[in-house]
Amino acid sequence: MSIVSPPPSRTVRPARRSSSVIPWLGIAMPGPRSYRVWQRNRDVFFRLWKAESLPPTIEPLVTLLGLGLGLGGYVSLGGDQEYVQFLAPGMLMVFPMFAAMFEALFGSYFRMDQHGTYAAIYATPVRPEEIVLGDIAWAATRMALNTAMVLLILLALTPWMGLIQSPWVVLTIPVGFLVGLLMSGLAIAFTSVARSLSQLSYFFSIFVLPMFWFSGGFFPTDQLPAWATKMAAIFPLYHAVAVSRALTTGVFEWGILGNLLWLVVVTPPALWLGIWAMRRRIIQG
């Protein structure tokens, strides 16, 4: 009650860390409340879903028709494979990934900076780690949803174009979710250090766009110079397209296990990076 000087025992101590933080990870283990944040994003999406679900179906359709039928006439791939058939597995990963990137870059930036959504949630018992994981999981969900939508289109066109050759193709949906987690973890880490909305486009120009072209979705990367083939393998999308190609065609080689393993192993560190980096930004306020 008084404002007299404090007793001597209560001297200034260094800042304390929240007891739940695991020292060697620098973050607390996110709990089930991440789901509350995922739910929030889902509710927003379903208010606007009609507007949001048109582009993900149009983009791959236009690409299939434009590149596949147009350019495809000039492209011959060994065997009797048509170019449009070569494109199909990429469509299941490449464009859906854009949806996840928009969520984890622009969506998260708005929630973090412009709208104060993160700050509002941070005032509740939801931990910052859970806010970030919920957001990443939502971005991954968007990717999986879009993969499913593209799959429906490919299935509808299959009687004419022979795009899908294997029932295993349904597994591209969970693979889409996995790739979404990985890519959104990286993207949200980038978002956490962005100082303006326009800086987010660097991530697109430097990382997403090269990955888009060199992922093996539009042409086989093994015809590139050796160094470029090697470089393509550092892109998560390269491995995603390889797995998607196997699931779409039903042609499995041992190398596919390597691609899948690559995705499985890289995802946890990518998630950690996203959570760790964005947590810092949230706590800084």
């Binding site: 009650m1 200034v12 304390r16 509350r36 739910q39 929030r40 018992p125």
Partner: protein, 309 residues
């Protein structure tokens, strides 16, 4: 009475900047407690530590007996926080804003639905329930943020400058709602740089400046203690200034004092006699104001500066 918030030698540092510099205070359960001070006084930093969104740099801080550093989740569960900026969820409707917020507290759906309806009713927003946030006025947004802060039935409601930027009518409506909540037994902690707000609402307050607590008490009692009952406020031209101040100063009783901010002189410890003297020296009666002292005068007396710069 038991202290529900207890701060001792509380310190907050951001790098080299000492935002809160050893503050002690305690808030009793059911009390309406204020932190009054100008921008940069350390009010917001103090409540950010209480609401567990900024770590404590030094000293101790307990909410309902729990250390805020180690019990952040439990503390947050019992707080309702109204931040300075309206961080409502733009992408959701009025009702959804509250329902989604209730989920962050793991409140069961049926309970949440009831609380949301009550909150909208209480804050006079029931007919706006399905509107978008954009469609609300500034005052409505503020009330919605308060309704949101009530959704977890908090023991303590914390408000950071709740009426900044509101027009007078909207402001009075918020004030009435806050008094109503206090009557219902909610402990309220509020920051403000409006002395009239603090005077009207608070049972007790501390006056802060540069991260320190300068004085603590009931508003009326603080005024009586530091400035007395009445004030003579005079707007003086340069050549009048010396003449008036020199004439008044020797006639002031014990505890009487003159403070000046730019062209305004404030004389404390004054009576009707001083008013007549001043009116005789200043030809324009509109530049002499004899009035009851307020918290602004307390702050001016303690710091030599005004509250709002």
């Amino acid at each position: 009475m038991t202290a529900i918030i207890q701060a001792a030698a509380l310190v907050k540092r951001y790098g080299d900047f000492q935002a809160v510099d050893g503050v002690d205070f305690s808030v009793e359960a059911g009390e309406f407690f204020g932190l009054l001070g100008p921008n940069g006084a350390g009010k917001t930093s103090t409540i950010k530590m209480i609401s567990c969104v900024q770590p404590v740099t030094g000293g101790t801080l307990h909410v309902a007996g729990m250390d805020v550093g180690s019990h952040d989740r439990q503390v947050k569960a019992m707080l309702g926080v109204v931040p300075q900026d309206d961080n409502l969820d733009q992408d959701l409707t009025v009702r959804q804003n509250l329902e989604v917020y209730a989920r962050y507290f793991e409140i069961p759906k049926a309970v949440a639905r009831e609380r949301v309806a009550d909150g909208l009713e209480l804050m006079q927003l029931a007919e706006k329930a399905d509107e978008k946030i954009d469609a609300l006025s500034g005052g409505m947004k503020r009330r919605l943020v308060i309704a949101r802060a009530l959704v977890n039935d908090p023991r303590i409601l914390i408000l950071d400058e709740p009426t900044t930027g509101l027009d007078p009518q909207a402001r009075h409506l918020v004030w009435r709602k806050l008094r109503l909540l206090r009557e219902r037994g909610v402990t309220i902690l509020l920051t403000t740089h409006y002395m009239d707000e603090a005077e009207y609402l608070c049972d007790r307050l501390i006056i802060m400046d540069h991260g320190r607590a300068l004085a603590e008490g009931h508003p009326r009692e603080l005024i009586a203690r530091h400035v007395g009952r009445d004030v003579l406020e005079m707007r003086l031209s340069v050549d009048e200034n010396e003449r008036v101040v020199e004439a008044l100063r020797p006639r002031l009783g014990e505890g009487g004092r003159i403070e000046q901010i730019e062209d305004v002189a404030y004389a404390y410890g004054v009576t009707d006699e001083h008013r007549r003297l001043a009116e005789g020296l200043i030809d324009d009666p509109y530049r002499v104001l004899f009035r009851r002292a307020n918290l602004e005068d307390v702050f001016l007396t303690l710091t030599g500066r005004g509250l709002v710069e």
